[in-house]
Amino acid sequence: MVKGYDQALRERVHKQLQFRAAVSANAFGAVLIAAAAYQSHRPWLMFGALVAHSGFATAMAKLTFGRSDRKVPNLAFTLANTIFGLVTLHALNDMAPAYLVVPLMVLLADGFSEGDLRWHMLAMLSCFLVVPLALGAPPFPVIGSVLLGWVVHWFSEGRAQTLRAAMAELREQAEVMRLVNAENGNLYAKMVAQERLSSLGLMAAGVAHEVNNPLAFVSSNVNALRFDLDKLATSATLRAEYRDEIIPATVDGMARVNAIISDLRRFARADPARKEIFDLDREVVAALRVCKGKLTEHCEVKVELEQQLKVEGQPGQVCQVLVNLISNAAHAMRARTGRLSVTARRDQSDVLVTVTDQGEGMPPEVVDRIFEPFFTTKPHGEGTGLGLSVVHGIVRSHGGAISVATVPGEGSTFTVRLPAARSKNAERPVDQVQVAGASA
């Protein structure tokens, strides 16, 4: 592909220069031939030569331009130009202006890197030098024009080479940049995936507690039922215990496990192409439930949620944002007593979520960098430093913004602003409210 690009560039430069040189050399040649015809004793032959020259030039143009293999056209071009040139020069009485055509021809034959054209050029210039001198032309115009032809060739070749070298360098740089960008992109995508896994891992540990507790008594209760089955028929006390205590507790335990599992599923569903309208407040409730294991006993949790905060996007990702912010807040308060408050409310056409902790807060030099990937204040191996950068990315991809206000020693507030979903039926039926309430 790079080779193709280089080739195409060369073709373009070549074509452009050759086209101009061809037009001017042929025009000039035509004028010279016309002049020679006018002066010569055989005007018809010269007019024939003019016609042949034009026809040949047109044919050459057709053959040469846009062809990668120019071996035959190049040879034909050199021979024809040499013959036409010499005949014309010979036919003209005044040789001096006629020699001006030589440099133009050289420019037209501008060889660039084509090896055989250099030999053509050498042969053509030798002919223009030797033949007129042998025929008794004055030496200075002849030598001068041949030298000029060589100089023109030298300049154009040098310029073309410099241009090619510059182009190649640019292309190399572009290629390096492309590779670096691709590498960075890959690395970042990998780290984001890893962060997702590690936050899932942290969550799984927290969730294990929430699942195993109810699971422990549910399985023990069911086991007890098997043991007590025969006695149930005779013992009214036992029946009452099962009816009032054991069975309700078991059902409740299973409901708790169910709620946690559906929260996990909420976190895991991540179809990047699919967007849906969802209730942000329910994601907050789910995130709080998932983070329960991380909140210490010193941490008083206060939650203020407006209901039915409709947002469009990916609820799993938004839940990840909330889990991240809440667990950061819990981490900031791990050695302190205080309140962790989470609010979600409407603000004009936006939905605002705030997570406020009364933790240690952050010094300005930390605040400046918290959304940077790989920046972390946690000890090596504990944080990936990607949590908040991923949060930032998710919020941005939902068309929102995240900001932070912090006072060192007093706590921090993270504010996430997401555009509210514009839905035709923003007012949902009442049962939706009840479902939301029940899950809270």
Binding site: N212, A216, S220, V222, I246
Partner: protein, 173 residues
Amino acid sequence: MTRPSEMTQAGQNDVGCSPVGTAPADPAVMGAQILVVDDELEICRSLRRLLRRFELEVTYATNPAEALVMMSNARFDMVISDYRMPDMYGTELLAEVARRTPATLRLMLSACAEIDTLAANYDETKILRFIRKPWNDDELAANLVALLAAKGATPAPSALTVATIEAARSRVW
């Protein structure tokens, strides 16, 4: 109905498929006093129901402070405490139990993955055994009975307890 001798194999079964057993009341441990401390009331209740079948007396407390009050009023042969509780970690509570009544068997319950780390950090003199939630009823009961029997002054432990002492050797159940 399963005979007591079959109960010894219950430990190898998974939670849901253990044989239905009658309470193999071991005279050596009958009436042993156990205190269960867990902020999850249903955990306490289900443990009490389970151990009742084995003639073990279970008292429970849903927070460590309450448990400490109970311990100053009565003597317990065994304290089983949850790890994560409001106000105090189970490790702190059990340390207090060790200080007050060193002879009391101290066991830890936990639903978290951290149980292996805890087991590595607290040797047998501090916390004897660690119980993973959810537990296997029959295995747990048999192991507890074995520990109580081994602790008890009974010169000859019963066949059941001898068989389960082996199972009870592992630190984390």
